[in-house]
């Protein structure tokens, strides 16, 4: 009896989540939550031979989508069109969350 009760509660929770997702997709909501919980500012820098240059966040998301790959570099993320290149983007997690929230679908390998 107790076991059946647990199964029913789990099923009811699933039903509520699925119904909510039908009315309002939960993916973006989860993305919003991840973004809101990170208190830092989104940061994006472009590294060239002349040094790091700060790039506006929305332009950065557009550029990141076009890179060959993004990999973790300590607490930051490095995105590049060639692994051996001296030019690359260095961004923080908040920026990455912003890009994915805005539909730019940036993947970190």
């Amino acid at each position: 009896m107790g076991c059946l009760k647990i199964v029913n509660i789990v099923l009811a929770a699933f039903a509520v989540l699925l119904a909510l997702n039908l009315l309002m997709p939960l993916g973006p909501l989860a993305g919003n939550a991840v973004y809101a919980l990170d208190a830092s500012e989104p940061e994006c820098h472009f590294n060239t031979a002349a040094g790091l240059r700060e790039i506006p966040s929305d332009a950065c998301c557009f550029e990141l989508r076009q890179q060959l790959a993004c990999t973790r570099a300590g607490t930051d993320i490095r995105c590049y069109t060639s692994e051996s290149s001296g030019t690359y983007y260095l961004v923080n997690s908040k920026l990455l969350a912003l890009c994915n929230l805005e539909g730019f679908n940036v993947k970190v390998s």
Partner: protein, 361 residues
């Protein structure tokens, strides 16, 4: 005993509800069901498409360039999406394979597009090109335009969203030519001429200028004052038949005004450009916050983008469901009379012509 039977009944009922909701959710995320575009009349002997054979949805789809994920190639072919954009790939053969994946069996060929802008080079893993900043003369600009156009053609790319003809790049400091407005206009013109000699569409951007000026990186809606110098490279490239011009999201005033709206959705600005230019007018990417933050609803943004007389809408959200929704929103606006079908036909004619296809009414 009866309590346990009641509990079991509730379990069965809940399981049925969960199963039903699960299938409804699946249906919601499934790719749109689109029939093969067998209705399109394309006479291959005369290379002519009969425009009236396309549905309104197919014509709207022709105006969209989206991110080219190969998994979506079949559905994009059915939807008659106008073009795909490629980011960086490991090798030349990867590009060729991707291009073929989209072009093989496409009823109307895709625009296959990239941003090759000197220091912003998606081919960097196997092919280097100089930064625009380091190009010193118009002759050099022509040479690089020609070499890059030849390379793009060999790779199967038919549109380059380049060059930046803005007078300054304060942000990356390498994406635009340097010099006086006259020198920048000359270099832009020569580069475009070299590229287009290879049959690759070049794009002068970002109209009307001052897109890459320094600003607060966390402020997305940008205001700029435009003067005649900013317009000079655009006027010059229009005179020498640049195939496409990309409009920015910056809100402008001065020599041209976007009327307090982002330039891409400003009817006075885009139609003002249209009055002096017969080529393709392309939007900057529409998910950028400089445009999106201006709107409470994305649907209103879609309608304004099409209303403003842009020919090609660059949308990196390549989810076929979202594109299908965008097409439905614009179709609704045409059916309500907010956008004329004649205006859509004008854009599709320019797009097909740019793809080298003749158009019959």
């Amino acid at each position: 005993m009866s309590r346990s039977r009641n509990g079991l009944s509730v379990t069965i009922l809940l399981a049925l509800i969960v199963a039903m909701l699960f299938f409804l959710n699946l249906e919601k995320i499934a790719a749109p069901q689109v029939a093969a575009p067998d209705n399109v009349v394309f006479d291959r002997t005369t290379n002519t498409v009969q425009l009236s054979s396309l549905t309104l949805r197919q014509k709207i789809a022709q105006m969209i360039v989206t991110y080219g994920d190969e998994n979506d190639a079949d559905v994009f072919k059915k939807m008659l999406i106008g073009g795909v954009y490629f980011g960086a790939k490991p090798s030349e053969s990867d590009y060729i394979a991707s291009v073929n994946r989209f072009q093989d069996g496409a009823v109307v060929p895709f625009f296959t597009t990239v941003d090759l802008e000197g220091c912003s080079n998606p081919f960097e893993n196997f092919q280097n090109f100089p930064s625009f900043k380091d190009i010193n003369t118009s002759e050099e600009a022509y040479g690089y335009g020609y070499a890059e156009g030849k390379f793009l053609k060999e790779t199967g790319i038919n549109v380059d969203f380049s060059p930046v003809v803005d007078l300054k790049d304060d942000i990356w400091d390498c994406r635009s030519f340097v010099g006086t407005p006259e020198e920048i206009a000359n270099k832009s013109d020569s580069y475009i001429y070299g590229m287009q000699e290879n049959g690759v569409i070049a794009t002068a951007k970002h109209y009307p200028g001052k897109t890459l000026v320094s600003r607060d990186p966390h402020k997305y809606i940008v205001y700029e004052q435009i003067d005649e110098n900013d317009l000079l490279p655009f006027k010059r490239t229009i005179r020498s038949n640049v195939s496409a011009i990309m409009v920015s999201h910056v809100i402008v005033n001065g020599s041209v005004s976007s009327g307090s709206m982002p330039s891409t959705v400003s009817q006075p600005l885009v139609q003002g450009l249209r009055n002096q230019y017969g080529g393709l007018i392309v939007t900057d990417e529409i998910n950028m916050l400089g445009l999106k933050d201006y709107y409470a609803s994305k649907d209103d943004m879609y309608v304004d983008l099409f209303k403003a007389d842009n020919d090609v809408i660059l949308n990196f959200d390549s989810d076929p469901k979202d594109l299908d929704h965008m097409i439905s929103v614009v179709e609704g606006a045409v059916n309500r009379g907010e956008i004329s079908e004649q205006r859509i036909d004008g854009s599709v004619t320019r797009i097909l012509n740019a793809k080298g296809i003749n158009v019959a009414a």
